[in-house]
């Protein structure tokens, strides 16, 4: 969190970050980048990023890699889930893709949109529709926001979620029109003049009439003229015989729209505790409103001074997905998967995530997950620590031995206590912990060597046990909760 109270210079904030003596490119910044623009990183990925520098590292994340095999697996799995309409495994399916994706930023931004459009299968009750919406958001995850928003009004999951399919020309349902303005494009109050409202109840009623006529036919959203109220509407001061796409256009012409989205992205990528003032957002909003190129907006943020500054560093609480996948990636879950040993399964992981408050495809309300400090309370904190143990202990039947810290440390030739502690601290926290914490870990590692172990344990058994315990303790450091 910033120590000084001086406002941040917006021009500096969004200018391209270039390493300097004052702000060198280092392991900490690489770790920060992979936490925000991916779901964590392996030791090798971090080292490569430090070598490559910020320009190329960001480019690699923006572009991702092709993964035909993974895409094919996804198609097969998602089809079978949709056919069986098994909502229980939706979360596990996506988690699997996030964990093993060759293009993690794309999944991360899809998650951003999922939280934005916050549609839950609890009401939709149709896995095919939910996956259809996921594909729509993923398709435009780095694309054009106007296109995404326009297509969203015809998305079957959304049409069920916000009742457009119930809407009759003589009795329009206002649900979608209201959320389109309040949650999807404008917000209640003006982005620059907080005392001023963005729309009136009458705007909603008029817009609702424009959204009549949307129906689901054979699993697809269609616009049916005969069910549509074709008369004139007055929406946000513009008169015409508006149809759904016109209302989206009108919304995006409002002053607040680019700010609204930029602020939300700011909270997602930069900080959920730093105040995103209109002045700070102005350069982003001005550029964004030109064509609503969301991919360009993301790129600008990820390459910016502010993103790599202390204002952003560790100024978010990790979402459950980030906490869990960060551990799995740091412990090289993909390795077992790549070696054909079967990677870490995500069905159990998804179940635990639900206890942590984040069940994908089931956001808690139309407003999505509250996020920030709301993620952590006494119970979820304990659950996180206990989950870290379940993943690292190798004795939990749900997760088995796939994320064994002992195997990881042996692979990386960490043979002394100091090497082991430092390796773990580097992978998960880029070594950025108070010296006292490191000392405590080293002291513990030394005293653990003098512990009595069961007589039937070999020396290797005991050493493995100590390494796994070290892994758990590192993951219990409070710094691990910060994103």
């Amino acid at each position: 969190m910033p120590q000084n109270q001086q406002p941040i210079d917006p021009r500096w904030a969004w200018d391209r970050y270039r390493p300097s003596d004052a702000a060198p490119w280092d392991l900490k910044k690489a770790g920060h980048l992979f936490r925000r623009a991916a779901f964590g990183a392996t030791s090798a990925e971090l080292q490569a990023a430090v070598r490559e520098g910020p320009e190329r590292s960001v480019t690699a994340l923006l572009q991702g890699r092709a993964d035909a095999q993974g895409d094919e697996l996804w198609t097969t799995m998602s089809r079978s889930l949709a056919d069986a309409n098994v909502g229980d495994q939706l979360s596990a399916l996506w988690l699997y893709r996030m964990l093993y994706s060759a293009h993690p930023l794309r999944e991360k931004l899809t998650l951003f949109w999922h939280n934005h459009f916050a549609t839950s299968n609890i009401k939709v009750r149709n896995v095919g529709y939910m996956l259809g919406q996921y594909e729509l958001m993923r398709r435009h995850a780095q694309g054009n926001f106007r296109t995404l928003l326009t297509e969203m009004s015809r998305d079957p999951a959304m049409m069920v979620w916000l009742d457009t399919i119930q809407s009759q020309r003589n009795q329009p349902n206002e649900n979608y029109a209201r959320e389109l303005m309040e949650l999807f494009s404008l917000g209640v109050t003006n982005a620059r003049r907080p005392g001023q409202r963005n729309y009136t109840e009458d705007d909603i009623r008029q817009a609702a009439r424009a959204f009549t006529g949307l129906r689901i036919v054979d699993g697809r959203g269609v616009f049916r003229e005969s069910d549509h109220d074709g008369s004139e509407k007055n929406v946000l001061g513009q008169r015409g015989r508006w149809r759904p796409d016109d209302v989206v256009r009108i919304c995006l012409e409002q002053e607040s729209a680019p700010y609204f989205i930029a602020r939300k992205l700011f909270r997602f990528l930069v900080s959920d505790s730093l105040d995103a003032t209109p002045a700070l957002l102005e350069p982003l909003a001005t550029e964004f409103r030109r064509n609503y190129d969301f991919g360009a907006l993301v790129e600008r943020v990820l390459r910016s001074n502010l993103f790599f500054s202390a204002h952003a560093y560790r100024t978010k609480i990790k979402a459950p997905v980030d906490f869990v996948l960060g551990i799995a990636r740091g412990l090289e879950a993909h390795r077992a998967a790549g070696a054909g040993q079967g990677g870490l399964g995500t069905v159990e992981l998804a179940r635990v995530l639900e206890g942590l408050g984040q069940r994908l495809f089931y956001p808690p309300s139309v407003a999505g997950w509250e996020g920030g400090r709301a993620w952590l309370n006494g119970q979820t904190f304990l659950l996180r620590q206990n989950l870290a143990l379940a993943l690292t202990s190798t004795t939990d039947v749900r997760f088995g031995r796939r994320l064994d810290p002992a195997a990881l440390l042996r692979r990386h030739n960490a043979n002394t206590n100091a090497q082991r502690v430092d390796f773990l601290l580097r992978v998960f926290l880029q070594g950025d912990v108070p010296a006292a914490s490191r000392t405590r870990l080293l002291d513990y590692a030394a005293s653990a060597e003098r512990q009595a172990y069961p007589v039937y344990w070999t020396a290797d058994d005991a050493a493995n046990h100590r390494m796994r315990t070290l892994g758990h303790l590192v993951l219990c450091l409070p710094e691990c909760q910060l994103d």
């Binding site: 969190m1 009750r125 009742d163 089931y362 006494g378 409070p478």
Partner: protein, 412 residues
């Protein structure tokens, strides 16, 4: 820092911000409850509500049986129950409900007949949502208990969950997320230690690395305070949990275990006032008799054990258990020795302060509405009564309008 009891609860396990408790923790998990162990009047602030949801649509007609009505035999040619437990000249309880029958003798069971709502939905999901949200609006995304919790932010609450059961709609909208827990183990920090000494060392390490070192209110500081607070309370809760021994045996069932856990949490003096527990399986479309007998038997014996356990601890007058289902079932049985979705059904209220006995006449078996029993009491009247007279929460803002109270609670 002065820590009031209110503060303590605010930062209790449901709180999303366990920050403010630094030194003055002892009162936190101490016997603060001892101040007011009994609700001398309905609406006293320490009253406890336990909601038991019978998921799937309970067959009210075979739960509270109108034995004297000749139409009952006509509507239920194969499902008719003849060895009922007689309550009065007109109705009796299902024979598996011996526990509830004994509660009647003890003046601790209120049977409220004919509860429903206008234009009932026979979709499980829609009807359940309506009961959870206490609203018939098209879009329902906040629950009545969640909204009530905004008026009593100091009260903690728990969803006693089955494995893989998401938090119910009824609890959404609360100022802090209501935790779903399956056992007290959920509150224990687990460590893999080779000995007691090792365990102590690991705990010491975690406490030491979590100690807030920065006087500035940074995000790390928030995490550290959460950590220190949580480690401490989890240890205290472990010892409190160990002290608890049920005073009466509970049935070995999921519902029995959940209610035992509720008793444990109440006994621990955490300030918990709201509990939510569900029992699935009531969607008895075919071969209903054995399945339904097992279900209502479990409901009756689990809740009876729970009430008697608390009563033995002097807490019987603090607790109110409210049992509902999203709908009753069709009056006429179907061709598969089962029943299809219906509407109105009885509710049960259990506790030391209920108006024990039968409230309302049994719904008519002649004037069926599309084959379903008519309702005489809107369930929101029951909610209003519970909110106003039991929890001390104004019902109007929660329910959106004023509902007439029903006479189900005794005044002290």
């Amino acid at each position: 820092m002065q820590t009031t009891r209110r503060d303590f609860f605010r930062f209790s396990l449901t709180g999303s911000s366990m920050v403010a408790l630094t030194g003055a923790i002892p009162n936190f998990l101490g016997r603060a409850v001892a101040q007011t162990p009994q609700a001398q009047r309905p609406g006293a602030r320490d009253t406890i509500l336990v909601v038991v949801q019978l998921t799937g649509g309970n067959d009210g007609l075979n739960t509270v049986i109108p034995h004297s009505d000749p139409n009952y035999a006509r509507l239920r040619p194969t499902l008719r129950i003849q060895n009922f437990l007689r309550v009065n000249d007109t109705v009796g309880l299902h024979p598996a409900m011996t526990g509830f029958n004994s509660l009647l003798q003890d003046n601790a069971l209120c049977i409220l007949q004919g509860v429903g709502y206008p234009n009932p939905s026979q979709s499980h999901f829609r009807s359940m949502d309506i009961w959870h949200a206490a609203s018939m609006a098209d879009v329902l995304n906040e629950g009545w208990i969640g909204k009530a919790l905004r008026h009593i932010p100091a009260a903690s609450s728990f969803h006693l969950a089955n494995a893989n059961e998401a938090a119910p709609l009824a609890l959404t909208g609360a100022p802090a997320r209501v935790p779903s827990i399956a056992s007290l183990d959920d509150f224990q920090l687990r460590l893999q230690a080779s000995s007691a000494g090792d365990r102590r060392q690991q705990r010491d390490l975690l406490n030491s690395v979590s100690r807030p070192g920065n006087p500035q209110p940074t995000l790390l500081d928030f995490v550290q305070r959460t950590a220190v607070q949580t480690y401490d309370s989890s240890q205290r809760l472990a010892s409190l949990g160990r002290e608890y021994q049920p005073r009466v045996p509970y049935p070995q069932s999921a519902l029995g275990n959940h209610l035992k856990l509720a008793a444990q949490l109440i006994d621990a003096g955490l300030g918990a006032r709201l509990f939510y527990v569900t029992q699935d399986g009531f969607d008895t479309h075919a071969a209903q008799l054995p399945a339904h007998a097992a279900l209502v038997g479990d409901v009756s014996s689990s809740i009876t054990a729970f009430y008697r356990d608390l009563a033995a601890r002097g807490q019987g007058n603090r607790v109110l258990v409210m049992v509902f289902s999203e709908f009753g079932r069709r009056a006429h049985e179907n061709g598969s020795r089962g029943t299809d979705h219906g509407s109105g059904a009885p509710m049960f209220l259990i506790g030391g302060r209920v108006r024990s006995g039968i409230v309302n006449a049994h719904p008519s078996l002649v004037n069926l509405q599309q084959g379903n029993l008519p309702f005489s009491t809107d369930f929101r009247q029951v909610y209003a009564t519970v909110l106003d007279q039991w929890l001390g929460v104004p019902s109007r803002p929660v329910l959106g309008q004023q509902f007439a109270a029903v006479d189900v609670l005794r005044r002290a």
